[in-house]
């Protein structure tokens, strides 16, 4: 299955300046936690704090098909083929 990911608030710098990524998974249904683990392998930790220890850094808004992931129990949320996941970061100051 295919998941489309987009980055906002400058998070693209952690992923070779790509504003959008498409990830392929062998499973037909995955959890958000699986996606985060995959993203961790692709993220350039030198650039910006995308992760805070093992979890996503607090302050990053995560949307699954434009809906807050808190509505779906965050890491436990189930993803399906062609779902769009957005990660939007706040800026310092701003």
């Amino acid at each position: 299955m295919k998941i489309i990911i987009d980055f906002g608030g400058g998070l693209d710098v952690c992923f070779e300046n790509k504003k959008e990524l498409t990830l392929e998974f062998e499973e037909q249904q995955i959890k958000m936690s699986d996606l985060i683990i995959r993203l961790k392998t692709l993220c350039n930790p030198q650039k910006l704090d995308f992760f805070y220890t093992q979890q996503l850094r607090p302050g990053i808004l995560v949307l699954i098909n434009d809906a807050d992931w808190e509505l779906e129990d965050k890491e436990e949320a189930q993803l399906q083929h062609n779902d769009r996941v957005s990660f939007i970061s706040t800026l310092h100051g701003g």
């Binding site: 850094r57 807050d68 509505l71 706040t90 310092h92």
Partner: protein
């Protein structure tokens, strides 16, 4: 098996929810209505913007908060709000301070952004750009001053903030604006509160977190009102609002980080403001009432009236007196000889507040700083005027 009941928006009870605000799931439409309502309510009731044709100077930095602020202000002025279309008859002017002169020097990959299209065409508001170096007789003095300040901590960022503050106040006074609007949301204000405390600006907490805070500008004794109309909103609200209302993309630029290149291995690059923002963000994630608890507690703080309220010419905040032994020790004043020398041989040493002293302490060429050599005439004028 019992079917799970589908969740519905708590407000309209018809649409599927898209976001959680104050623990309630709401749909996109109700969310936009909520944000617009909070903004209007803050302006009218909390910031006391009630008179017809009242002039409002909106400070825009290109970041997310101020972009949302400009967008909301445009909607209330042009009656283009999605729901409550009642118009506010106010005059809004947008001020942007262009920092390219500094950024180019410190950030190799810096690309200047043009916000004219967003403000003038998309938001249809009058827009003024002021270069940060424009208040310096010799612009290169500003770069030299920044290079002279310590790379660690937030000294350079604080200095840039002070200069921007002077430009904003000066612009507001010269152009007849009594109300100056800043875009920090509640979460940022809560972080600012801790940041001010940690830097030793306890006496200025009221100006940091209130909805509206008035003070008399010392140069011409005119009243200025500082407004924070987004105080009721959180980071998440702003980000989601922008996602729905604006196509703007935001570059990740963290001035403090770039100005402090040698502290990359420290948490938040050694920048106390950034560190405290992360601290509040983390708390907020675990405890959703964090921001409003901090801010409502801050509202209750009262400051012991001082016999004499002298102000610092750099930050324009109340000049603190050193009362306790702990504070004296944190002044890094082990070099008493140098302090005595500066006190005797520089013109303004005694007029600079505790926090600004902390900012300048690690600088090279201290004498130049304390004699305000090469500083903008505006700051020198203020320093001469202030007792």
């Amino acid at each position: 098996m019992q079917q799970k009941e589908p969740k519905l928006c708590k407000k309209c009870k018809t649409n599927n929810p898209n976001i959680i605000i104050q623990k309630d799931p709401v749909c996109k439409e109700c969310f936009i209505g909520y944000v617009e309502h909070m903004f209007k309510m803050s302006l009218r009731l909390k910031c006391n913007i009630t008179q017809k044709n009242e002039k409002l100077l909106v400070c825009f930095s290109g970041g997310q908060n101020s972009t949302a602020l400009v967008k909301m202000a445009s909607d209330v002025v042009h009656s283009t709000c999605a729901y409550n279309k009642s118009k506010m008859f106010i005059e809004v002017h947008v001020l942007y301070i262009n920092e390219s002169f500094i950024m180019k020097e410190f950030i190799q990959e810096y690309q200047p952004q043009d916000y004219t299209n967003f403000v003038t065409n998309e938001c249809k508001l009058p827009f003024q750009i002021v270069d940060i170096q424009s208040i310096y007789p010799d612009p290169y003095v500003l770069l030299k001053q920044l290079q002279n300040l310590s790379e660690s901590g937030s000294s350079r960022e604080d200095f840039v903030r002070l200069i921007k503050q002077h430009i904003i106040y000066d612009y507001a006074i010269k152009n007849g604006y009594q109300n100056v609007c800043f875009g920090q949301n509640g979460q940022r204000l809560a972080a600012d509160l801790f940041s001010q405390l940690s830097k030793g600006r306890g006496l200025s907490l009221q100006s940091a977190t209130k909805y509206n805070y008035s003070f008399i500008y010392p140069l011409n004794q005119q009243k200025l009102q500082i407004l924070h109309p987004l105080k009721e909103l959180l980071n998440k609200d702003i980000l989601y609002y922008l996602r729905l209302k604006s196509n703007m993309s935001f570059p990740q630029f963290i001035l403090g980080q770039h100005l402090s290149n040698n502290v990359k291995n420290k948490p938040a690059h050694g920048n106390i403001d950034h560190l405290l923002e992360q601290f509040i963000d983390k708390l907020q994630e675990g405890f959703p009432s964090t921001t409003f608890t901090v801010l409502s507690s801050a509202e209750k703080i009262t400051i012991k009236p001082l016999q004499q309220q002298n102000h610092c010419p750099l930050c324009l905040e109340i000049r603190d007196q050193v009362y306790n032994r702990l504070e004296v020790e944190t002044l890094d004043n082990s070099n008493q000889q140098l302090i005595n020398y500066l006190r005797a041989n520089t013109k303004y040493y005694n007029k600079i507040c505790f926090t600004c002293n902390r900012m300048l302490q690690s600088a090279q060429e201290l004498e130049k700083f304390y004699n305000l050599e090469g500083f903008p005439p505006l700051i020198i004028q203020l320093a001469d005027l202030i007792q």
